[in-house]
Symmetry: C2
Subunit: 557 residues, 2 copies
Amino acid sequence: MTKTKKKESKKLKIIPLGGMHEVGKNMMLFEYGEDIMIIDCGMTFPTTDMLGIDCVIPDFEYLRQNSDRIRGMVLTHSHEDHIGGVPFFLKEFNVPIYASPLTQGFLKIKFKEHKITDYEFHDLKPGSIVDLGCFKIEALHVTHSVADSMALLINTPAGKVFHTGDFKFDYTPLDDQPTDIARIAQIGREGVHLLLSDSTNAVREGFSESEKVIKENLEIIFKKNDHRLIITTFSSNVHRVQSVLDLAYDNGRKVAITGRSMENMVKVASELGYLKVPPNTIITLKQAKLYKNKELVILTTGSQGEPMSALTRIAEGQHKDIKITSDDVVILSSSVVPGNELGVYDIINEIMAKGAQVIYSEVADVHASGHAKREELKLMLALLRPKYFMPVHGEIRLLISHKELAQEMGISPSNIVIAENGSVIELTKRSFKLSDERVQAGPVLVDGLGIGDVGSKVLGERKALSEGGLIVLCAVFDGSNRIVSDIQLHTKGLIYVKEYGEVLDRARAAMYNALDDAYAKKASKDKIKEILETTLKNYIYKEIKRNPVIVPVFMEV
Amino acid sequence: MTKTKKKESKKLKIIPLGGMHEVGKNMMLFEYGEDIMIIDCGMTFPTTDMLGIDCVIPDFEYLRQNSDRIRGMVLTHSHEDHIGGVPFFLKEFNVPIYASPLTQGFLKIKFKEHKITDYEFHDLKPGSIVDLGCFKIEALHVTHSVADSMALLINTPAGKVFHTGDFKFDYTPLDDQPTDIARIAQIGREGVHLLLSDSTNAVREGFSESEKVIKENLEIIFKKNDHRLIITTFSSNVHRVQSVLDLAYDNGRKVAITGRSMENMVKVASELGYLKVPPNTIITLKQAKLYKNKELVILTTGSQGEPMSALTRIAEGQHKDIKITSDDVVILSSSVVPGNELGVYDIINEIMAKGAQVIYSEVADVHASGHAKREELKLMLALLRPKYFMPVHGEIRLLISHKELAQEMGISPSNIVIAENGSVIELTKRSFKLSDERVQAGPVLVDGLGIGDVGSKVLGERKALSEGGLIVLCAVFDGSNRIVSDIQLHTKGLIYVKEYGEVLDRARAAMYNALDDAYAKKASKDKIKEILETTLKNYIYKEIKRNPVIVPVFMEV
């Protein structure tokens, strides 16, 4: 250690590796002296331009360079955007992980799929105090759309930092465990140096609805229908599923479950006691066939219209056990994640075209957000009265809206930082600011078993292929500069060759003509290759105004 | 004509070729005896699974088979989903077109692009009566988000049919020409046999906002800002653009326009008198550089985040003349068309990241829908009191919601038809029902100059290419069953070959091993081809869990 380094280390560095200027893959480092502590390690779904990509995770490069300094990872709750990157992380790093029993349960399912056996879990529960190097972390209960969500009070040498995690203030949650407002108020009175607060709903006015209201609204649907009820929600939403199970029991219905993630969740959450399954309520899809429609609830995955999900298969008539009829009422007890609108509408339309009724959040109050809206964000700020503020979790439009709200609440703009992924934010007893330093923090794309081997060049090729298809141009040269084979053209995704293939014959004719000219001019082999490719490209564009990818393959014998 | 046919012809047939179970490409035929009359001929944008497709138009096959019977086409208004298919239609059919001067103006721009010179326009204005065969059509003024929108009263031998077109009831429109409620009421008192009504907002409660309110809200923004204002809206929204021009004039600002469709609209609409440009208000982008920010409005295209639009180029820092700074306020005076959410958020985020303020409809009332909401739909039903009802323009969830609303208004469910594209709906003096007959009416995909040559097979190939990229496998056989060249592998969109190419070398090694085995077993040429392809496919899947498209190219010398 040089002296300079020691001096530098008097500052707390906060480094977001994900979750800033985006919704998803939340990950944040706290670094002081030789200690690094990690909060969350999420994934995100690929955007539409990331063709063929399975998921996106944070870039761990900075951690690779500092792996010996990582003291541990704390997970606030079990949503994919907070834990989805953990299996990929564990393939490279072995550090203790602090998580709630439910989060551990969900992660163990992932670890099995990823064949990960080497990990070190520690229970994190409301009231837990965790020591990670110089950091002393206290967990507090908050309400959110998954059970066992926690905010964190991080005691650091530079002062107390409060990280809300994902939260809302629900005074009447189903499990009677509201956000621990008393402890938050106490922490506020003791003084908070910096608040990091969830910005997901920062543009939404008002107060989020209580889960109890949603249960009441679902109850009305249960009471007035004697049709079969097919209900989907986010499979992680333990409370919503609890409502469905309870309402089924109270109204003399059995519940059959379809969709792997919902089956997994119900299994894990009921084993761990988070979900209390009423007696004789859950049945198999096979058993369900013995019951009348009015005695049944089908609980299914697919609230986002995911292509292979159970609800999509049901809507498209592809589900082995469940066929939609006009005697079904389908309830999407969920919001639509931005980007999934058309997929969800497709599902709704397909189900309605089969004669069933569909109830969704646009037409009825059957979903409550798990994230604090503006009045709740104000309450959090009012309780904690932090000196410094940094909005987290969200696109920049949300971060800035949250910043403006904090200013309305009296925090000076100079005490607020809007950070990016890779920003290094420095906190001392007296200051809070973006430093000039930056760490590598781009998105890492996962495709099959490949992590990071698909970048912008490959994605650019996929985009070009998707828009214009391709033509493989193939010919064989002998030792001289002569082509000794046919010129072959093979297309994919260009035109329906069986009916419209003549354009390819004409293109080949044009190429043979160009070849004759080239021979006459004693063109070199490279020149001939270039002439053939250009002739093909120009001909296709002239004839059908398209730009397929051209893959020239010249062989030698 | 056989006798049977003549008997059949006593019924009015209504045949939607587009706009049912979808938003877009509205087109509807009215057929009685030997006469066919067409209402609208729209286009729609490709859905995300229609890779590389430029636009989608209705299938004209039924009209091809009956081209001598088409008496004319009536266009209700100038939106793309009502007129976008006209240029494609005119390439095959030459029939008189009845349209408002504004619609004609917009179409002429399209005709120029499509090099169409042979067409027959007739003016259609509120109060116009058009005779097309046995149909007598009266046009009435309705308010909508484009000027000169009309509803149609179609007098047919089977009774009076009222087609609302796209409409809203705005009692305080900017041009002081509200929907012609008096004439509608009169028509209702005289008796309407069948109502066809716009379903776009059938799930939205309440009454749509007036254009005047939006102008007032924009005025507040003009009054309180001395930043440069960059405003985007749908370029067809003449009234909104009028508001912007008037507010600029009243507040001492000049307006510079960027984006081809906005420039075209302002030119056409002001030439035809729909847009009244205040004196000395419009300037060029070059002139704009001479003004201070507080003296400027930039009016731009790109409200849907379209990739090449002016606003997107501005947001991404690619616009030649306009650079975003923190001294800009950007206003998206528009709604987000479903499916465009992420693109629009991207633009908002990019602009905010550059320090400008962004005002959009999610955070402020800066846009009013052009379509009637539920209370307005009820008003239309209450005024017209039709015997029969068919909801038009919308996905099935919207059509069914509109049907339910009509039932609430007292129309018997048996008097309501939910139709599909290609349905044949029969209306007589005494009956209204779906017939068993159907006509061809699928979507026709336009890609470059090709119309219909890209179908599901080609789209399937594009999808596979986009997700997994491709490998071209190439080898040369001699006259015997021996390969006399290298085995070459060329990839696109698979992996970043420069860094991760070894997997291809290992795949080739596996193929050479397989080839040795095949030679030893004296395998046939076809068998060898099969072995090489399978070996490659399996190896790649095993190594990186991906399924690229494999294009085998075997040459002979």
